[in-house]
Symmetry: D2
C-alpha cells in the first residue's frame, strides 16, 4: 500500500486556549495531506479540476482523538488509500507524535468522484478508468 | 430536547477554490455552536475550566456532507445533546441552508469529561452530578 | 459617510494559548466585513467577479492592536470607505468591545480594481464609472 | 543580520474562490515564522510565557501584496529583526515564490514586551537585559 508521509510542527496559531491543538486544524492538515497523496501518484487535483472537470468531493470525514497535540511538537501524518469502489475512495490519515510515534489522531475522508463541469450542479460519476487503475495500484502497492 | 440554533452567513473566506465551503470551517462552526449550546444551559465552558478544572475534551468528531455551501448563503446550525453517559456526551449539529431548510451537513462531537487541573496530564472522570443533572434535563427537555 | 456594522462574539476557536484572539482572525473578520460593506451598497463582490471579471484585489492591509479580545466577548466591527482614487479604495475597520465601545483593533485594507478575466494574469484598471459613483456616494454619505 | 527561513507549499485550503491565497493565511504563516525565528535564537516563546510570564505582544502588523500565491507553489518566508528598542521589536517577513525568488508579500510585526503574569491585565515592560542582548546580536549578526 502506497503511503504518503508529511512531517510538520505544531505552531502557536494551531493551539486553543488550553494549549492544545484546536481540532479543525487536524482537518486542514488531513485535507492538505490528501492532496499530497494524490500528487505522489502524479495526480494533481488542481489539474483534474481544470482539465477534466473532476473532483473527489466529500461524503464524510471523521477523526478520533487519542492524545492532544502541544506547542512545538513535531508530528507525522501518514496518508493512504484504504478503500476504493466504483465511485468512492476512502483515505485514512494517521497522525502521530514524531518523537515516539504515539498515535494522536486517526482521521478519514470518504470522497466521491464528481463531475463539476457545471459549477452550480455537481454530479456523482464513476471514477474514470485511467484514474481507477492508478488508485487501485496505490491501494495494493506492496 | 433542548436545541440551540445559530444563523450565520457563508463568507468569501470560508470558500475554497471551487467556490464551496472548505470543510474544516464546518468544524469551526460546530465547535462554536457547542459552546453556545452550553451557554444556553447557563454553563460557560471557559468558567468550567478556570473554576473547576473541567473540560469536555474530544473523543471523536465527524461530518456527513449532503450539499455544498456557497458564497453569501445564510445557514442555520442546530445543536442538541443526543446522548449522555457517565463520562461522555454526544452533541449533534445539523447544518442547513436557511432559505429552504435543505440539510447541508450533519456533524457530531463525542466529548468526554476531563480533569485538566494538571495541564500536562488530562484525566477522564465522571461528569460531576450537578452538571449531569443539567445535561440530562437538556436532553429530555420537551 | 456610509458605515456597515457587524456584531459578533469571540469564540473558543478564535483564541490562542494565552486566551486572547489569535490575530489572523481579525483579518478574517475584516475581510468578511468588507464584503458586507459592499453588499450594503448593493454591490455583490461574488457577482462582480462572475459577471464583470472584476475584483478589488489587495495592495496592503494592516492592524493596530489596542486591547486583546477575550472569550465570549461581543465585539462590533464598523467598516467604512475612507479614501477613493481612480483605481484604489481604502477601507477602514474599527473593532471595539461591544459592552463599552472600547477600541480593540484598528484595521485597514487598501484594495485596487483588477481585471481578472484572465485568471492567471490580473491587471490593474480604473474603477468603472458606475461603481465609482456608488463608492463616491458611500464615502460622502451624510 | 540573523535570518530565519522556512519553505512551505501553498495548499488547497489556503486558497480563496479565485484560486489565490486568502490573505489571513499570510499572517498565520508570518506569526509561525516569528516563533521559529525566536527558536533559532534559542528563545522558546512558549517557555518565556510559562517560566518568566513574558510575551512579545502585538502593537501593529501589516502586509503589502505584490503577487498572488497560487495552488501548489512553494514559497519561502524569510524573517529577520529589523528594529529593536527598549520595549519593542520589529520583525520583517519577506515571502517570495521559491522557484524564482519573486517577492510576493512583505509583512511586518511590531511587538512589545509584556508582563502577562496577571493573565487579565497585561503590562508593557522593558525587554529584560539578557533577552535584549540576544536580540541585539540577532539584529547585527553579520
Amino acid at each position: 500500500m502506497k503511503k504518503s508521509t508529511v512531517k510538520r510542527q505544531i505552531m502557536w496559531g494551531d493551539l486553543d486556549s488550553l494549549g492544545i491543538v484546536f481540532y479543525p486544524r487536524y482537518y486542514e492538515w488531513i485535507d492538505a495531506n490528501g492532496h499530497i497523496f494524490f500528487e505522489s501518484l502524479n495526480l494533481n487535483l488542481g489539474s483534474l479540476v481544470k482539465e477534466r472537470g473532476l473532483i473527489f468531493g466529500l461524503v464524510e470525514t471523521g477523526c478520533r482523538y487519542h492524545m492532544p497535540g502541544r506547542y512545538n511538537e513535531w508530528i507525522e501524518i501518514v496518508t493512504y488509500l484504504d478503500d476504493l469502489s466504483d465511485k468512492t475512495i476512502l483515505l485514512r490519515h494517521d497522525i502521530s507524535r514524531f518523537s515516539d510515534k504515539t498515535l494522536m489522531v486517526e482521521g478519514f475522508e470518504k470522497r466521491i468522484c464528481l463531475d463539476v463541469s457545471d459549477p452550480l450542479k455537481f454530479k456523482a460519476i464513476e471514477i474514470p478508468k485511467d484514474l481507477h487503475v492508478i488508485l487501485s495500484k496505490a491501494r495494493s502497492h506492496p
